[in-house]
């Protein structure tokens, strides 16, 4: 249920923006979610719809795009996509922190954040 707290902080931020600008109606909010984050898009959209009711954001669309993970290996200097775990029991392959080159542990340098990219609105 951390989707609910992410959705409320999202809505708070947008409403704050609306207060500062002359906005009639919000059409679309675009959110970028890192691949290494475990934000569940469907749940997030559900929470979004629920808490935007009776606000200036009512009936607006939440678009979620995934930001690909980038990892860096402190041992062999590999930098790029993570290694995926293909046969794990989940719908999609799971990004791991195993270095694709030397099998050491890599550090994520992109793919952990969750950020509002753009707001589309009618003024």
């Amino acid at each position: 249920m951390h989707e609910l707290s992410i959705a409320s902080s999202l809505v708070d931020s947008v409403l704050e923006f609306l207060d500062a600008h002359k906005v009639k109606k919000v059409l679309t909010v675009r959110l970028a979610v890192g691949e290494l984050n475990c934000v569940e898009a469907e749940q997030l959209c559900f929470c979004y719809t629920a808490i935007t009711q009776k606000t200036a954001m009512e009936n607006s669309t939440l678009e979620i795009e995934t930001v690909a993970a980038v990892v860096q290996c402190p041992r062999c200097d590999y930098r790029g996509s993570p290694k995926y775990w293909e046969d794990a029991r989940s719908a999609a392959p799971i990004p791991t922190l195993e270095c694709p080159k030397c099998q050491g542990t890599v550090e994520p340098i992109q793919g952990n954040d969750c950020a509002i990219k753009t707001i589309q609105f009618v003024a």
């Binding site: 249920m1 475990c38 029991r89 954040d113």
Partner: protein, 224 residues
């Protein structure tokens, strides 16, 4: 060709914002961390599913540590169990942290708890997170290490089902190993799954029932 005429809409704007939703928490986490560092206190965020044994483990660790150094416990988990009382009965400071939506602890709540207790005599704080399988990287608390507790009663595929939990962990505890054969769970396979996600992650096997692994866990936490 059919021409449609539409009412001209009001002007539509597209504004780039680049506003991180996790940044505010991350900033407070850093503040917690520097407050703790200033007092020379190590803090350990204990995460894991409901019933994995977080409270029990913390209780056993407090028993082992409290005569050696100042220990406190923050409990974000609202479940009332005899083990929670066990911690309170050991005469260490306990702060119960209630979250608004019962979702997860955040750095703001932990910051408030830190202001509630006398930090001068403390060396170690255990923070029991809510029994929720979120990824630790999302809501850092400012702790020095994040421990994920997984028990064999959660089944053979627990790690595969909740991989994100482990990516941000500094230590994994496989608990309730006394029940492994009854549960027909292979501890080796469970640990192999952890290492598929993060090869160098330290894993310690414990049983709060017969005490196996608790000394090793205590030593690892003291080395953090």
């Amino acid at each position: 060709m059919i021409q449609t005429i539409e009412a001209s809409p009001d002007e539509i704007y597209d504004i780039e914002l680049e506003h991180s939703l996790l940044e505010a928490n991350a900033k407070l986490a850093k503040e917690n961390r520097s407050l703790l560092d200033r007092h020379g206190i190590a803090s350990i965020d204990v995460m894991g599913a409901i019933g994995s044994g977080k409270t029990t483990l913390i209780g056993r660790l407090v028993e082992r540590l409290k005569d050696r150094l100042g220990v406190a416990v923050f409990n974000g988990d609202a479940t009332i169990s005899s083990d929670a009382d066990l911690i309170a009965r050991q005469n260490v400071p306990v702060v119960q942290i209630a979250t608004v939506n019962g979702c997860h602890l955040d750095a703001n709540l932990v910051g408030k708890a830190l202001r509630k207790i006398d930090l001068t005599k403390l060396k170690l704080i255990f923070i029991e997170n809510i029994g929720n399988l979120i990824c630790p990287a999302e809501f850092p608390l400012g702790s020095k290490a994040r421990v994920v507790v997984v028990s064999v009663t959660e089944g053979q595929y627990m790690v595969r089902k909740h991989p994100h939990m482990f990516l941000g962990a500094d230590l994994v505890v496989v608990n309730k190993i006394d029940l492994a054969s009854a549960m027909e769970v292979s501890i080796e396979d469970l640990i192999a799954d952890v290492h598929k996600l993060k090869p160098d992650l330290k894993v310690i096997r414990t049983s709060c029932k017969n005490g196996v692994g608790l000394d090793e866990l205590t030593a690892s936490l003291l080395a953090i």
